[in-house]
């Protein structure tokens, strides 16, 4: 007589595919997953506490380090919250510039997500390197804009800190021309490949009702054909002046999530072209008379959210009238999108564990903060 018993394995925090220092306590029955318990906190840096003793501008440098593959989007979300709190009227050119930067960052983030999907599927880094190669060109643009590639600190209350240099615009054109080709290449590796389609389609299906109830947002939600994009539904900055598609997929499986990301990256390129048409010369930030270096907002609170690359990225700021926020809360999409991790994984095989996990596209810097 033979008996079987479940086996519990700790995956992470030191594991090559956990996108950082994530830890999962997974119980297997053979190769099948029967229970998952995520364990957080290995990258907890207390950003929210640190923010309470820094001025509003200084907190900006902390937001760079939360989701470090989409710093520009973090900057944007934080600055929107500050502007809402202080009732700052932003300069139009600054807003267009930060929209361009944010959409470039979205492309970069989606490239990373897609590259890591195929890496998790077992390709030995080839697609990842193709994706990263294209991302490097985008980071070069960021270096032109603000002198840093990852920790940008580019935005300021009411706009951006400095206008783009002259050499930025031709370089941007070149990169924008290249991005669709790179996406085609990735898609050829991804969506046509029978191994990938047979491994990702029909795995980890989440129902739209469940996802909305679990506060899941972003590409994950749109892969379940829920047309919820804050750029469209609640346009911040100048997104109301821009036409763009929201790619939707109905199957809500791992493949759909990545298909949506690639299509969104394509849409971002179109958005940037539209921004380039509308951008006009002018100041990129309000004068120091309107927005001083040390902001002292009226006591009150403000919640501003943007459509980040991972989902709804929100900042909740409470002011007590001093130069530092009384409370700074980050609505981190990476953390909240993990809510349904157990539902996604239970019943699938070990091979699909990290694929489903990677399809959430989480970033440990944002999960733990």
């Amino acid at each position: 007589m033979s008996t079987t018993e479940p086996i519990t394995v700790n995956l992470g925090p030191q594991h090559p595919s956990t996108h950082g220092v994530f830890r999962m306590r997974v119980t297997f029955d053979g190769e099948e997953i029967i229970d998952v318990e995520p364990v957080f906190g290995y990258l907890h840096r207390g950003s929210e506490k640190l923010a309470e003793e820094r001025t509003y501008t200084q907190v900006l440098t902390l937001t760079d380090r939360m989701d470090y593959v989409s710093s520009m989007l973090n900057n944007q979300a934080y600055m929107l919250a500050v502007e809402k709190l202080c009732n700052v009227e932003p300069s139009p050119r600054g807003v267009w510039l930060r929209m361009i930067a944010a959409e470039l960052q979205r492309v970069a983030s989606h490239l990373v997500a897609t590259g890591f999907l195929i890496q998790d599927l077992g390709a030995l880094g080839t697609p990842l390197i193709y994706a990263m190669r294209q991302r490097e060109y985008i980071l070069d643009l960021f270096e032109m804009l603000c002198g840093a590639r990852i920790t940008n600190s580019y935005l300021r209350p009411g706009g951006v800190f400095m206008d783009a240099p002259d050499e930025f615009w031709p370089a941007l054109d070149k990169v924008l021309n290249d991005i669709p080709n790179a996406l085609d290449e990735l898609e050829e590796l991804l969506s046509g490949n029978e191994i990938i389609t047979s491994r990702t389609q029909g795995v980890s299906i989440l129902l739209p009702e469940t996802m909305v109830n679990a506060s899941i947002t972003g590409p994950m939600l749109r892969a379940g054909s829920v047309d919820w994009d804050l750029r469209h539904r609640n346009p911040y900055d100048f997104y109301d002046q821009i036409n763009f598609q929201r790619p939707l997929h109905s199957s809500s499986d791992n493949f759909a999530r990545f298909w949506v990301r690639i299509q969104e990256a394509r849409e971002s390129v179109k958005i940037i072209y539209q921004c380039l048409e509308r951008i006009e010369p002018g100041c990129v930030r309000p004068s120091f008379h309107d927005v001083p270096r040390l902001i002292r907002p009226e006591p009150g609170d403000a919640y501003a959210a943007i459509e980040g690359s991972k989902g709804e990225l929100g900042f909740y700021l409470v002011s007590d009238g001093s130069i530092a926020p009384y409370r700074c809360h980050v609505r981190a999409p990476s953390l909240i999108n993990l809510t349904l991790l157990r539902e996604m994984l239970v019943g699938t095989l070990f091979n699909d564990l990290f694929v489903s996990f990677g399809s959430i596209d989480l970033n440990m810097g944002e999960v733990d903060r």
Binding site: I7, E31, S198, G202, I205, L207, D227, S252, L349
Partner: protein, 423 residues
């Protein structure tokens, strides 16, 4: 003195120079005077055998070092980068440096490990890999031994590597390693059957199990006569050597390094060596059995043609590894039992019919046979592929949602809206 050793060029050279008197050491240049006096032929035999093995094993090690460098350069180029180029000309010494580094690392044995098995496993792993090479003819007269059951020998010896992986995994006392070991057993055992059956067609054509004989029987390369056999054997050997898309055992993104997780220092080095040697070994088998081995135009020595074909197969393996992701375990086993197994049966039946029709084919008839085999191969691959895909389509349908989630279908009454909040 057995004859099969005597036909070996290297062995013969060493033996005749050592042995005192032997009537067999008369070559076209006349009688060779040996170093040893008469009566010490046994010593010459032993020494010659030992030297042959020494040259042979060190040759494999050198080839492994070179192939690691070559693979890394190729990985680099496939990934649009350079690959190692710092240490020595074109980075040739990179893997030498790696080997030295591996040797000087600390040798850690985990406290939960079964010490004896933990230490035996690397030896068990590398042993059969070297044995494979002993029967492969690398050129005219360049082989260690030409067994008349060479193919069977290879098939039986390669099964040992599965045992080594399981022992390594079990002895590590590590749960992730055990996953790797269990996967290895499942994959290796499953793929041995299509692997063995895919060679049956070759045997029918060649009429011999000796690898030297198979090479000599190939009037045209067997890849043309046996497309299905080649296809199945190539995939099966990818599975046997744990290469993508069948690298479940070492699945980097899931298991870290699988059964190698707890190995360090030279034990890890031996596993690594065995893995690359196995890659070379399986490409050598493919070259010998399907690509007509050392045969080629006479302008260059036969060894060169063998090496050229070997390198081409190696590049093909690297290319596949760089391009394709991994299959899931159920898909891999399904492919073995529901796909490749059936394909080999089709191949055997088709080949058997052809061999019965033309027992002693002329050159023209061989080409006709090749054409018929290709006509059988392509539709059967497509049909089997379609059959395997059907199940996937079903699961996709299950996930579809009928009604879209309502978003923005209603609006809030204007009296309830916080007007001041608007821009």
């Amino acid at each position: 003195m057995t004859d099969f050793l005597y036909e070996n060029v290297i062995f013969r050279l060493i033996y005749c120079n050592l042995s005192g008197s032997s009537d067999k050491c008369v070559n076209e240049y006349g009688y060779v005077q040996g170093i040893f006096p008469a009566g010490f032929e046994w010593l010459a035999f032993l020494l010659a055998g030992f030297l042959l093995a020494f040259i042979f094993i060190n040759g494999i090690l050198g080839a492994v070092i070179l192939s690691i460098w070559g693979e890394r350069r190729l990985y680099g180029r496939f990934q649009n980068r350079l690959g190692p180029n710092r240490w020595g000309p074109w980075g040739l010494f990179s893997s030498v440096a790696d080997a030295i580094k591996v040797m000087f690392k600390e040798d850690v044995v985990p406290s939960d490990a079964d010490r004896l098995l933990f230490n035996i496993a690397p030896i068990l792993m590398v042993f059969p890999v070297f044995m494979i090479f002993s029967v492969i003819p690398m050129g005219i007269g360049t082989f260690v031994v030409d067994l008349n059951v060479g193919l069977l020998f290879i098939l039986s010896v390669t099964s040992m590597s599965g045992l080594a992986v399981v022992i390594a995994a079990w002895a590590s006392g590590n749960r992730i390693a055990i996953f790797s070991g269990l996967r290895a057993v499942a994959v290796l055992i499953s793929y041995e059957i299509p692997m063995a059956l895919s060679l049956v067609g070759v045997l029918m054509f060649a009429g011999t199990l000796s690898l030297g004989g198979i090479v000599e029987q190939q009037k045209i390369p067997f890849i043309l006569l046996q497309p299905l056999g080649f296809f199945v054997f190539f995939l099966a050997s990818l599975a046997e050597i744990n290469r993508t898309p069948f690298d479940l055992t070492e699945a980097e993104s899931e298991l870290g390094a699988g059964y190698l997780n707890d190995y360090s220092s030279m034990k890890f080095g031996i596993f690594f060596l065995a893995e690359f040697a196995a890659t070379i070994g399986s490409s050598a088998i493919i070259t010998t059995v399907f690509l007509s081995g050392w045969k080629g135009p006479d302008i260059l020595p036969s060894q060169f043609w063998f090496l050229l074909k070997l390198v081409i197969v190696l590049i093909a393996i690297v290319w596949v590894r760089m391009s394709w992701p991994r299959l899931r375990i159920d898909q891999i086993l399904e492919l073995a039992w529901k796909g490749l197994f059936e394909l080999t049966l089709i191949n055997i039946v088709a080949t058997a019919i052809l061999v019965t029709i033309w027992p002693n084919p002329t050159m023209g008839e061989i080409w006709i046979m090749a054409g018929i085999n290709w006509l059988v191969a392509i539709p059967s691959v497509i049909v089997v592929g379609k059959v395997l895909r059907r199940k996937d389509n079903k699961t996709i349908q299950a996930g579809r949602d009928n009604e879209p989630y309502p978003v923005g279908t209603e609006t809030l009454a204007p009296s309830l809206v916080n007007k001041v909040g608007e821009k």
